[in-house]
């Protein structure tokens, strides 16, 4: 059906000139959107000498792969990778796991005033995370969690968005299946694990990806709750590298190489799981 509609919405399909114009404008759009990526890679492979030249060249004289080794050594990137990975994975697992349990409870377990509690949870999606910065910082310093993995894992895990998405998904499952499992004497834990989860796998993958992406890319929260070089995550480490650059300590080609360290895992993940990414993010847009 999609293509037949497309033919109607598209103004004139057969005119080769129109087609050429469409392709040309799409190509131009692609190039404009891709230019920053191209420039990042090109700059990361230039020599300091070539970088200083004016006007800048559009392709490096020689590809200096050694820049990546220099960039890796210019800051504790190994440590920052470990920090980003561990806290990202742990926070994602916690967020998704707790949201699954909660969404299941709201969808399938009887409880007084269930709708009211659900609304109370979902209403928090309207609240800007930025509002919680100061109080949560105070709570963490009370707990002595500043500069720990706990600070990067636990507070971001409490989010209504995955609860909302899972709840919507669970409500669409055929209730006959759940009732049948109940009649067989399965408990709620078993139903969640054996019936509900296998039927919700695409949503689970999408939500997990978006959660992890959010943690990996997060900048403001780790900036606030970490202040030692050993606890920094990758984006925060990059920001410090840029500060040094302003004092002339770390040059631009190394910074672009460092920037690539951060986006390459995302690009790889994205190219493998593109469909799930797009699905998860378009669902995520509801959160705003």
């Amino acid at each position: 059906m999609g293509s037949s509609v497309a033919a109607h919405v598209g103004h004139t399909r057969k005119n080769p000139l129109t087609t050429a114009a469409v392709y040309a404008s799409l190509l131009a759009a692609c190039m404009l959107l891709g230019l920053p990526f191209f420039w990042m890679v090109v700059t990361s492979l230039k020599s300091p000498h070539e970088l200083a030249g004016y006007p800048p060249s559009w392709w490096p004289e020689s590809l200096r792969w050694g820049n990546y080794i220099d960039a890796w050594r210019s800051a504790p990137f190994g440590r920052m990778y470990v920090n980003s990975l561990i806290t990202g994975l742990a926070a994602t697992a916690l967020q998704v796991g707790l949201a699954l349990l909660m969404a299941y409870a709201f969808a399938f377990i009887r409880f007084p005033a269930r709708r009211f509690w659900l609304l109370l949870v979902l209403a928090t999606m309207m609240i800007p995370d930025e509002m919680k910065l100061v109080p949560n910082y105070l709570t963490l310093s009370r707990l002595d969690w500043i500069n720990t993995y706990w600070a990067l894992i636990v507070p971001p895990a409490a989010h209504a968005f995955p609860v909302f998405v899972f709840y919507q998904q669970f409500r669409m499952l055929p209730s006959a299946l759940i009732d049948a499992a109940k009649a067989d004497g399965a408990g709620h834990g078993r139903i969640l694990w054996r019936v509900v989860l296998p039927m919700s796998r695409p949503v689970l993958v999408a939500v997990t990806l978006v959660s992890f992406l959010g943690r990996w890319n997060d900048f403001l929260w780790p900036l606030i709750v970490t202040d030692t070089a050993t606890m920094r995550t990758l984006p925060v480490g990059l920001a410090y590298l840029k500060k040094q650059a302003e004092e002339g300590a770390s040059p631009w080609h190394l910074m672009m190489a460092a920037a690539l360290f951060i986006v390459i895992p995302i690009v790889i993940l994205y190219s493998i799981l593109q469909k799930q990414f797009v699905e998860g993010i378009t669902k995520g847009a509801i959160k705003g």
Binding site: A6, H8, V9, V22, S25, L26, A29, L33, L35, P36, F37, W39, M40, T43, P55, P56, W58, L98, L101, M102, A105, I109, R110, F111, T124, M126, I127, P128, E130, M131, K132, L133, V134, T139, A157, A158, G187, H188, L213, N217, F219, L223, I224, P235, V236, L238, K242, M255, M256, A259, I266, V267, Y270, S271, Q274, F277, V278, A285, K287, G288
Partner: protein, 305 residues
């Protein structure tokens, strides 16, 4: 009252196991919500009526001083205006471009998948990284545009060092990140439009532009409206690109946004009370926009029959 209690006791005997299971499932997340979501909201409101530098033992009651200080502060108004300019520009420019792109893409084309991939990449890219890359893209010496300036024989603008242009540089990153994302939404919407409307219009001899104006846009209004509102709310939270590119500079509030200002007041100047007042005002504005969204939606959005 006694009857009520007996009723509850009976209900509990019947459903107690079920209720306990519910608590078992929901409680872990509820505890996190209580500590890291509900409590901070209350705390923001109470802190906003105090003066505190985070170091002295306890916050001191200050009544409405913080709010009064905010509303007479020209920096606050400048930051609010910057945020409005940022959000309106990013949302309108990005969505207009995205809508055009989606119209182009909505036909049998080769290589549509390639375009989708490229268009969506900016959205998944770490904003801090994107901002850093744009620093160099806009750089008068290292950037790709400087070749153009050199051939034209002019000095390129130094975006980030100019009080007038710094905010535009931050806006550019926002637009870049939003276009592809919004165009995928529009494309999905266009592909879901009912074909019979177009068939009827073609029979009536409606021209392409009038078809666009009288059929496509009204039918797409839910998608357009949804993207406008969510995009606007997300844009008011811009922080990462400001922190990386300008830190609000070159002269402080020139390119600062609301959330960056909140961060600066709270975590650079250590004024917890004032930062909380900023947070509460932000909260009220966000809720107001969301409420307005629902009221306006019923007025001009076409949701079909």
């Amino acid at each position: 009252m006694d009857a009520g209690r007996r009723h509850f006791a009976r209900a509990f005997r019947r459903n107690g196991r079920e209720w306990l299971t519910f608590l078992l499932f929901a409680a872990p997340n509820l505890v996190l919500f209580a500590v890291f979501t509900y409590w901070p909201i209350l705390r923001s409101f109470t802190l906003s009526f105090t003066k505190w530098n985070l170091l002295s033992p306890a916050p001191k009651w200050a009544g409405l001083t913080n709010y009064r200080a905010l509303f007479v502060d020209p920096i606050f108004w400048r930051v609010a205006l910057n945020t409005l300019i940022y959000a309106v520009t990013v949302v309108t420019v990005a969505q207009a471009c995205a809508f055009l792109l989606a119209l182009l893409l909505n036909r049998p084309l080769r290589g549509r998948a390639v375009f989708r991939t490229v268009a969506f990449l900016p959205h998944v890219t770490t904003t801090a990284v994107a901002a850093l890359v744009w620093v160099i893209v806009l750089h008068p010496h290292y950037g790709p545009l400087s070749g153009l300036y050199a051939t034209l024989g002019v000095n390129g603008p130094n975006w980030l060092e100019s009080t007038g242009l710094a905010l535009l540089a931050v806006i550019a990153v926002g637009i870049w990140k939003e276009i592809g994302f919004a165009s995928l939404f529009f494309l999905a919407g266009l592909q879901g439009l009912p074909a019979d409307c177009y068939e009827a219009a073609a029979l009536d001899g409606a021209r392409p532009l009038s078809r666009l104006w009288h059929i496509t846009i009204p039918l797409m209004s839910p998608v357009i409206f949804f993207l406008l509102v969510t995009g606007f709310i997300a844009a008011t939270k811009a922080f990462d690109s400001v922190a990386i590119m300008t830190e609000g500079g070159p002269v402080y509030p020139a390119s600062s946004t609301y959330v960056y200002h909140l961060y600066k007041v709270g975590f650079r100047d250590f004024q917890a009370g004032l930062a909380s007042a900023l947070a509460c005002v932000f909260f009220i504005i966000t809720v107001a926009i969301t409420a307005l969204q629902f009221r306006m939606a019923s007025r001009w959005v076409h949701y079909g029959e």
